[in-house]
Every structure is written in C-alpha cells, then in structure tokens.
C-alpha cells in the first residue's frame, strides 16, 4: 500500500474541473484508491467516485491523504500526486 499527503492549491479545491480530472485519473488504474480530507478530518472515500470525492468538500489549501493498493499502486499515487502538485494543469 502507498500513501501520500498533499495540499490542494487550486482555487476551487476539488470541485468542478479539478474534481473531474482527479476522478478520471484515478479511474485509469486498477488499484483500489481511497482519499480523505485531512483538514476537515473526514473519512476515506472511493477516489473513483465523483460524488463521494465531492462530499469531501476539499477547498483551496486543504490537505488530502491518498491511499493506493494494488498492482499499479505506486504509479497511481504518482499520477494523482503530480496532478495536484501541477495544479491540475493550470499555471
């Protein structure tokens, strides 16, 4: 199992386009991927579910924990990390 804690810098947080990109990226991997909002201290939810990711209420500057488990766990974690760190492809 791999795990990482990352701060979301995007101005809308995990909502709208960033949320969609996050879920689409997660869906590319066969690993089980879970995510939780550390700042709001909630539960882990399925990172491949757009509805559940929205229920995390991740806003700008919130920290999220991502856990991946499976054959491509490391690749999945890397992809999601670089998506958030690269501010979802926006400058």
């Amino acid at each position: 199992m791999a795990e990482a804690t990352i701060q979301v810098k995007h101005k809308v947080g995990l909502h709208a386009r960033p949320a969609a990109l996050f879920v689409q990226t997660a869906a590319k991997f066969s690993s089980k991927i879970k995510v939780k909002n550390l700042t709001a201290n909630g539960n882990f939810v399925d990172a491949k579910s757009i509805i559940m990711v929205l229920t995390l209420g991740v806003m700008k500057d919130h920290e999220v924990v991502i856990q991946t488990e499976g054959t491509d766990a490391d690749a999945a974690l890397d992809a999601l990390k670089s998506l958030i760190e690269g501010n979802f492809g926006e400058a």
Binding site: K11, H15, K48, S49, I50, I51, L54, G57
Partner: protein
C-alpha cells in the same frame, strides 16, 4: 377579463410578448411490482444507464454547438455521475435486499444527493441537484417515458415552470423560446444563468402556486428588467410594451457593441474606460460590462468585515484572484481608506468633531506603519506578473507622499532580501480628492507616477459641504465651476509633467460630465461597471475637438445649474 399583474425576481433583461407554455414534467410513478433476480434488475439498470449516456452525449453536442463548451460541460459532469461506482454500488445494495431497479435507483440517488445537500459550502451543496437530475433521467428511461415534454413546444412561447433543471432547458429550442418564468429559483439558478447567456428575458422566484391559475396558451407580457408579468394584457399595454421592446432592443444592441470594443473617440483617440470594484467577486462583473481595467479597487471591505486586520496571506489571495481575472488589464489598488465615520472594531479611534477632516486614509497608514506594510507586501507580491498600480487616498501634502513612498521602498527591500517574488516596477500614484492636492499636482508629480481624481471627496472638500446633511446637501454639486476648474487644472498640470490622469469618482460615469472631461483630456474614466457600455457609446460619438468646444462652453457658465442645463441640451442633440 381584466389584466392581472404578477411580480417576481428580475433575472435576465428583455421583454417578451406571446403565449405561454406551461411545463409540467411527467410524474414518474413507480408501479408496484415484484423485483426480478439481482442480475436481472442490475441488467435493466445497466441498459437504462447506457441509454441515458447516449441522451446526455446528444445534449452535450447540441448545447456545445448552440451555446458553447462551458455551458455544455454540465452534461459531461452528468455522464461522470451516471457511471459513478458509488452510485452503482448503492443501487446493488438495495437490489440485493429485494428492491426493483427503479426503487433502488430512487433510494440510492436520494441518499447520495442528501450527502451533498448537507454540505456547508453552497457550491458543493448545489451538486445535489445534478445527482437528482441524473437519477430522474435514468428512472424516466426505466419507466419507458420519452425525453422531456419541453420538446413538445412547437411554436414560439414563453416557458413557465415550477423550476427548470439543466436537462429541461437543454431540450429547449432557443428559436422557439421567448423567455422563462419560474416559480422557484434565484438569480444564480441554472435557468437564470442560461437565460442571460442566451440573451432571453427571465423572471424567477414568482412563488408557489404560479402554475395553479394559468394554462398553456394564455397571452402574456413579461419584463425581465422589472420582474413583471401581465396576464391577458389589453391592446394598450401590448402596444406600450412593443414600443419599449423595440427601443430597448436597439439600444441594447448599440451598447453591447460599444462595450465589446475598446473606447475610442469619434476621431480615433484611445481612452481607457475602467471599473470601480469594491469586492473580489465584482471583477468578473466588470469584465462582462466591458471594463478595460480596474481604475479603483477599494480595499476597505477587507478591513471592515472582520474583528482583526486582514493577514498578509488573506490579502495576497484576494488581490491575486482579482489580478488573475483581469489578466493583462491594469488594476489600480487603493490602499486602506477608512476613517472615524466607519471605524473597524479592532482599532481605537479618537472622538472626532469631524471625521472627514480627521484621522483617516493615508494619515492612518503613516501612523500605523505595520498595518500599511502588511498591505503593501500583499499587493507587491500579488502583482508579480500583472499590471498592478498602487494608489494612496487623501494625500494633501508632498511630505506625506514622500513618506508613503519611502515605506513602499522599504517593503520592496525587505521582500528582495527575503528572496520573495514581487513586482518591483509597480507604478505608485495618488488620488486627487483634496483641493490641496489638486492645486499642487505639479509639485506632487515629483513623487507620483499618476493621478486619479476622486470627485466625491473633492466636491465635498471644495464646496465645504457634508452631503449627508440635508440642510446643505444641495451644495454638493460635482459639476460646480469651482470643482470643474480644479479637475481641469489637475489634468493639465499632470499632462505637463508627463503623467496620466484618470478619474474614479462618480462623475466619471455620468453622461452629463463625460463630454466635458473628455474635452479636458482625461486619460481614464473609471466607474460603476453598469455605466460602462453607455459611457463607451457616448465617447465614441464625440471627437476631441467637439469635446473641447463643449468643455470650453461649459466652463463659461457661472453656476452648476447653468452647466447642467447646457449639458442636457448637448446630450439630447447627440
């Protein structure tokens, strides 16, 4: 039957005259029947989901073609929700305890929508409606109903409904839609936003029972600017609204065309028309109205909304967001402009006989250097890569200006030493709002990169009148010859020193003043965003030569009343 009037919330400008189409969505009742096996029910769900996907893709393509990618993206989001693994898992749970696909779908979407609806942030909570909309679509397909009754609209109609979902409005043919009226909803509801995008009139929030007393085919008049709806109008009313509609349509077209272009005088000189903005959210509004920049960004709201001064980070974020919205367009940030008339709770203010002549604006900033430095650091950092300018309010003396600039330099040195990214070349200027500053522009030019006239305070200080005092407020005359002379002198002295001179007071957006100010050679007009289209239109009708003639003539009068009267004639003849 006599006319009947109703009033709701005006949501999108325009007048529509025509028959109504009452949209009552098909009631989706689930028949009571025994569920099949888990596999059978899940297969029925999967088949309905696939048909829903095809419908949503069709809606996406149609809206993208008709309106745009941004407006269509809602149906992309709906497709993602449709295939959400959490939705499928929930449905399976309910099917496994013996529910039909229909019942399971309703229970699952309701449960997920409830999770979203209960969130604190409105933006997130609003997504609950999307989950419900998706659920309803799949349910309708499972029950075998065709896609939405709105496709039954066959002639141009005004659509009246309880509320409209994105799916409802997407199946509307804009060519057959004259306007929208809904019983529910607010200004930010989906139908209100779509109506504005399509340029259709809309009224929302008419209240419960809207659909009880009317039926399809009733003839009505609706005014999206006032929120009025008139049922069965008489001939006179129809004629009156037809006339208003024709006038407004042609005026709107002219103004819209003017707002989209950069402001040019009739002889082709470029003049900047900018917006006055008092909070972060209005920057977008300003752009929509054709602002070429922000000529006055008030920062007081940051200081008055909380029980402690705003942190550097908070200010940085808010300034940065506004700069990002405005892109390469200039933004003039006015530093803290508060006083004893409206003191923040965390600052002890002395009892003052006259707070407008007291401890306020730049005077506070110079006495409270830490408060001032925090703001300057936030502005300078946020300005990196953008066209920001810093402006000090209520300067009346060169020494004040020099001291304020010294603090700016100190802040820049500190930032450079700490290797923090900031904009080193931000122009620094002053507001001209005291008569002292107006007569000293040539002297102040030594330390000011630009000047911006604040006409409300300049009028108040020049006429020595408190406009809040009804006994004397009649003397508050921004077109008074004394005020106009100071404005003219300021512009001329600024230009002699090679500085640009703008105006961010109310006068800059008044049509009766614009020709005079143009004649004086004002470089930038900054105003309430809503005044921009009309101001640009007016500037485009005047040559510089004509404006100079008008200004010269106006300055030959001895009273404000004579000037106003003269300008009324000028505007009527344009």
């Amino acid at each position: 039957m006599p006319e009947t009037n109703f009033k709701g919330i005006p949501a999108s400008d325009g007048i529509a005259i025509g028959s109504i189409f009452c949209y009552i969505p098909t009631k989706l009742e689930i028949p009571v029947c025994v569920a099949g096996s888990v596999d059978e029910e899940m297969a029925r769900f999967a088949a309905a989901r696939e048909r829903a996907r095809v419908e949503l893709q069709g809606l996406y393509d149609a809206i993208e073609k008709r309106v745009g990618k941004k407006e269509a993206s809602i149906f992309e989001a709906h497709q993602e929700m449709l295939f959400d693994p959490a939705l499928e898992e929930k449905i399976r749970e309910f099917v496994e305890i013996g529910q039909t696909a229909e019942q399971a779908l309703v229970m699952a979407t309701e449960e997920l929508a409830r999770l979203l609806a209960g969130m604190d942030d409105e933006l997130f909570a609003a997504r609950a409606l999307d989950v419900k909309d998706v659920g309803r679509r799949v349910l309708r397909i499972l029950l075998g109903f065709p896609d939405t009754a709105l496709s039954a609209v066959t002639e141009p109609s005004i659509i009246i409904a309880e509320d409209l979902t994105p799916s409802d409005t997407a199946s509307l043919d804009p060519a057959l839609t004259l306007g929208f009226i809904t019983a529910q909803g607010g200004l930010t509801s989906h139908s209100a936003i779509l109506a504005r995008t399509l340029g259709l009139p809309a009224i929302v929030g008419m209240g419960d029972g809207l659909l009880d007393n009317i039926s399809s085919g009733t003839f009505i008049v609706m005014d999206g600017r006032t929120g009025e709806m008139i049922l069965e109008p008489d001939q006179e009313t129809i004629a009156r609204y037809k006339q208003i509609k024709t006038q407004r349509d042609s005026l709107l077209q002219i103004l819209k065309a003017a707002a989209e272009k950069d402001a040019l005088t009739a002889n082709g000189r470029r003049v900047e028309v900018a917006a006055n903005v008092g909070e972060a959210s209005s920057a977008r509004d300003a752009l929509e109205h054709g602002a070429e920049g922000i000529g006055l960004l008030r920062t007081e709201f940051l200081y008055l909304e909380d029980t402690q001064p705003p942190s550097e980070e908070k200010q940085y974020r808010i300034y940065r967001e506004i700069f990002e919205v405005m892109g390469t367009r200039p933004v003039v940030v006015r530093t803290l402009d508060i006083g004893g008339d409206k003191p923040p709770s965390y600052m002890p203010f002395p009892d003052e006989m006259n707070p407008f002549l007291g401890w306020r604006a730049i005077r506070i900033s110079l006495d409270e250097p830490e408060l001032f430095k925090t703001q300057l650091r936030a502005i300078l950092r946020a300005a990196a890569g953008y066209q920001a300018r810093i402006m000090f309010p209520m300067v009346s003396d060169l020494d004040e200006l020099r001291r304020a600039r010294d603090i700016v330099e100190t802040v820049k040195r500190d930032l450079a030493l700490a290797s923090v990214e900031f904009a080193a070349d931000v122009p620094v200027g002053i507001m001209v709002e005291t008569p002292a500053a107006a007569v000293l522009v040539d002297v102040l030019a030594e330390a000011s990169d630009f000047f911006s006239l604040g006409t409300n305070d300049l009028t108040q200080y020049t006429m020595a009148v408190d406009r809040g005092n009804a006994k004397v407020s009649g003397l508050f005359q921004p077109l008074h010859p004394a005020v106009l002379r100071l404005i003219q002198q300021t512009i001329e002295a600024g230009h002699t020193k090679g500085k640009w001179v703008g105006m961010c007071g109310e006068l800059a957006g008044m049509t009766k003043a614009i020709p005079i100010l143009l004649g004086f050679g004002l470089d930038e007009f900054s105003m309430n965003p809503r005044a921009i289209p009309e101001a640009k239109n007016l500037i485009g009708k005047l040559t510089d030569e004509r404006a100079r003639e008008i200004a010269g003539q106006a300055m030959s009068f001895g009273t404000s009343a004579e000037i106003e009267n003269y300008m009324k004639g000028i505007l009527a003849a344009l």
